[in-house]
């Protein structure tokens, strides 16, 4: 199989159980390189669980998953080297400054010349680089988390509600980062509650219904109206 034909993200019967309750009941889908896929579904349908399994944070109870051909269980570190993950929370250290948070991330990624001032400027935080994150608004924290993604330049993005707390400029920046990953031959999987901010970047939409990939998007998306995936 040539590198181009390997799916960027692939799930085969991925399932996860919490105690006696099955949260995901065997999800199968794939995302090709150069594709941005949205994932919708009602609250508790298992979207975040799926994203956490693909990002190696949660072990599947059954099934398998691959990111750029690397198994999410047996080759987890190779998966981690290629993904950028954004959770509901920004995942920052509030007693460190914005620049220190990025410096820490750069050290952990092994990026030597990170160009932190430039990255901060890029996400609109150039003037608050030396301020502690504790005083940041939710939107500023989200922008800083976005800066962490810019820093790492991952090939595959796994983003949980990426537009939460972002203003119009922030949404545009997020979309720029997603396009960047796509243009580098990567892919992105976005968990979305609102589709409007992702217009223009989405290639396809999948829906999770009761722990399974549901009917084709736009028919049972459950968002009130059919979804036209923008390209």
């Amino acid at each position: 199989m040539s590198p181009e034909s390997i799916p960027a993200i692939e799930a085969r019967g991925l399932a996860r159980r919490f105690g006696a309750r099955w949260c995901l009941r065997g999800v199968s889908f794939s995302v090709s390189a150069g594709e941005v896929v949205g994932l919708t579904g009602s609250n508790g349908s298992g979207k975040t669980t799926l994203l956490r399994m693909l990002s190696t944070l949660l072990a599947p109870s059954a099934g398998s998953g691959r990111v750029l051909g690397h198994d999410i269980v047996s080759d987890a570190d190779a998966v981690r080297q290629n993904i950028g993950f954004l959770a509901h929370t920004a995942g920052l250290y509030e007693d460190l400054t914005a620049a220190e948070n990025l410096r820490f991330a750069a050290s952990m990624y092994g990026i030597k010349d990170a160009g932190i001032p430039e990255v901060l400027k890029l996400v609109g935080l150039g003037t608050v680089g030396d301020s502690r994150v504790r005083g940041f608004s939710a939107g500023m924290q989200r922008r800083l988390a976005l800066a962490r993604l810019v820093l790492a330049r991952p090939r595959v993005l796994l983003l949980d509600e990426p537009y939460a707390n972002l203003d119009t400029a922030g949404i545009a920046m997020m979309n720029e980062v997603i396009r960047g990953a796509r243009d580098r031959g990567g892919a992105a999987l976005l968990v979305l509650h609102e589709l409007a901010p992702a217009e223009g970047v989405l290639n396809r939409l999948e829906t999770i219904v009761a722990g399974r990939i549901g009917s084709p998007a736009g028919v049972t998306a459950g968002l009130g109206e059919p979804v036209g995936a923008a390209t």
């Binding site: 929370t89 920052l92 952990m108």
Partner: protein, 228 residues
């Protein structure tokens, strides 16, 4: 992943934890206040007799350090949970044991500072003269602290994702620390009272063995428990 990568990650985590702790201050100050208050209360409980205070000094010092340490260990992983930083920490590429090693170093620095304060207060409060064999006492303090911090950091990681982690940590930790506590108190007491029975050497060797075994074991199994 090379050793240079591992060293870089360990340094980054230790720096991050120490900086966070230094900035927040509240954590350090309250832990030190707790340790010193414990020593004062033990002093009141033991009474004013100088000899009784001196004999109990080793035990009270280690108990105060143990209690203060539990507060510190809980905090070391709490900082990851506060802003949801544990997920990014686990997603950074690299070997997971480096997270443990980084946190262990930061906790050693933190508990080591508390230890220095607790020792000074103990010497003053319990009227203990500085012993001739102070290098051996120092060795016992270092080995005992390494044992305490190794297991404390490990069990704090284990309890991180549980709801009752503040209660669970001492429940898990204290039984495992009985040997190190026994050895550290016995060795310290022997050295502070002249070591007439020449027993300190055996306790120091025991502490060294304990540290090597548990340091190796915790580094090896950390990946499993943090992923659980």
């Amino acid at each position: 992943m090379s050793w240079a990568d591992d060293r870089r990650r360990i340094r980054a985590i230790a720096w991050k934890d120490i900086t966070t702790e230094r900035r927040s201050k509240a954590g350090f100050n309250s832990v030190v206040a707790f340790a010193v208050t414990s020593l004062v209360l033990f002093g009141f409980a033991l009474g004013p007799e100088a000899r009784a205070l001196r004999e109990a000094a080793a035990g009270t010092l280690w108990i105060a350090l143990l209690f203060a340490g539990v507060l510190a260990f809980n905090r070391s992983f709490h900082v990851e949970l506060e802003g949801g930083a544990l997920d990014p920490l686990l997603i950074y590429p690299g070997r997971r044991w480096t997270i443990f090693a980084g946190k262990l170093l930061a906790n050693l620095a933190f508990v080591g500072t508390i230890l220095a304060i607790v020792v000074l207060v103990s010497l003053t409060l319990y009227q203990v003269p500085v012993p001739k064999a102070w290098p051996s006492v120092l060795l016992v303090l270092v080995l005992g602290t390494v044992g305490l911090v190794t297991l404390g950091t490990f069990y704090a990681a284990m309890a991180t994702r549980t709801r009752a982690r503040e209660v669970l940590l001492p429940l898990l930790l204290f039984p495992m620390l009985v040997p190190v506590l026994l050895a550290a108190v016995s060795a310290s007491k022997a050295l502070l009272t002249g070591d007439v029975m020449h027993e300190s050497g055996a306790w120091i060797r025991f502490l060294l063995g304990y540290d090597v075994v548990f340091l190796t074991a915790t580094l090896l199994v950390f990946e499993k428990i943090i992923e659980a």
